[in-house]
Point group: C2
Chain length 228, copies 2
């Protein structure tokens, strides 16, 4: 709950809360702090992108990147959401959500079981990027989001690949983070129960890189992979 | 791509594809195999639940459980989606998505970067569970989804807690899985490039359980936690 322990929001350092970014539940877990939001976004690379198709919700996992106050997602120019964002004026209403699970919270009572997590929810209008320079910058950001430093160590998209890739931009304007930290919140009368209670920490761990069988002889594992 | 290598779908073992579960992109990665879908769902406990509010999409992370061909999510009776599902007739249209990332796929070309993943997307109508026995079974499933065996080793919800908890049911009917496995798909002319290429495996790893400071003396770490 880093965000809630900070001084009152300054215009420059926090997103302005809106009706849909103020939660009805656990409002003390919500934060609009830009630094916290950026940190949560930068720790992930898979988001869940929601949009409306024929009146019904659709939620798809997809890679994303961040450049300042802009998020980017990409896909084939033939994919449904990207086509929709290109055709629709003024763009495609989306909700983009990123979640990290930090620990399981096992309470003595079933009711108080929970998880420690950090999530960011972004509401807004996704628009197709048409400027070639912005598109290239967005694609670099997408690759670097997965492995920092990787974009510079790969062959950039050629004209044909660039034309086959649609990039959507979503500005960080209507944004909130939600964070649960800390321990078990059992009822006082449950504390003496014989059930184990506590936290089980969770981590994302990278394994040893597995080289492509066709790797050019002498190609070493790059330093930025060791940094993972 | 387990699903695509199996014999043609049998009614008993696969979900029937629909317009919205047949992807426009990478259809070879799609599967409707029930066993595969169940395995992906059972490996996770956080889903991303999408619904439509005031015409715009909303995507929230939430815990889920599975009992046979039914998924359950829960929340405060005051939360927005749960209130909506209770009031709306015939329920709340949702899209529930679960994603596991298995490896980063680093290609020589930026364009062919990818991830190996397994995801399940469920479309349907979420309805509030009103039957008390089904509600209790759903809450047990939610707890056991996070830690198998835990529901039996915790205090069940009392009447008040049960009344404060809303449970939504979503039947597994319109369902698809999408799986990317395997290695790097670079263009033949890129194979000699000096960039390292290959897979970086990813795993979810549990740390050492951290007991609640108020734990009753002599309470041991239960065996089902060691099994994680």
């Amino acid at each position: 709950m880093q965000g809630t322990t900070q001084p009152p929001s300054q215009p420059a350092t926090a997103y302005a809360p809106t009706d849909r970014t103020v939660p009805t539940r656990s409002p003390h877990r919500a934060s609009y702090d830009k630094e916290l939001v950026h940190a949560i976004l930068d720790e992930g690379y898979v988001c869940h992108l929601g949009f409306v198709r024929d009146g019904a919700p659709v939620v798809l996992p997809t890679l994303y990147g961040r450049v300042g106050e802009r998020l980017y997602v990409h896909g084939s120019t033939g994919s449904r959401p990207l086509r929709a964002a290109g055709q629709a004026d003024p763009g495609l209403p989306v909700c983009l959500t990123v979640t990290h699970v930090d620990a399981l919270v096992l309470a003595r009572s079933a009711f108080h079981h929970s998880i420690n997590y950090r999530s960011v929810v972004v509401h807004g209008i996704a628009r197709q990027v048409t400027d070639e320079q912005e598109k290239r910058q967005a694609l670099d950001a997408l690759v670097d989001h997965v492995v920092p430093g990787r974009a510079a160590d790969s062959r950039p998209a050629d004209k044909k690949e660039l034309a086959a890739t649609a990039v959507l931009r979503l500005d960080l304007e209507e944004v909130s983070a939600k964070v649960r930290t800390g321990g078990v919140n059992d009822e006082p009368e449950d504390l003496a129960l014989p059930h184990w209670a506590g936290l089980v920490p969770l981590q994302r761990v990278y394994g040893t890189p597995v080289p492509d069988p066709a790797l050019a002889p002498g190609t070493e594992v790059p330093g930025y992979l060791a940094a993972l």
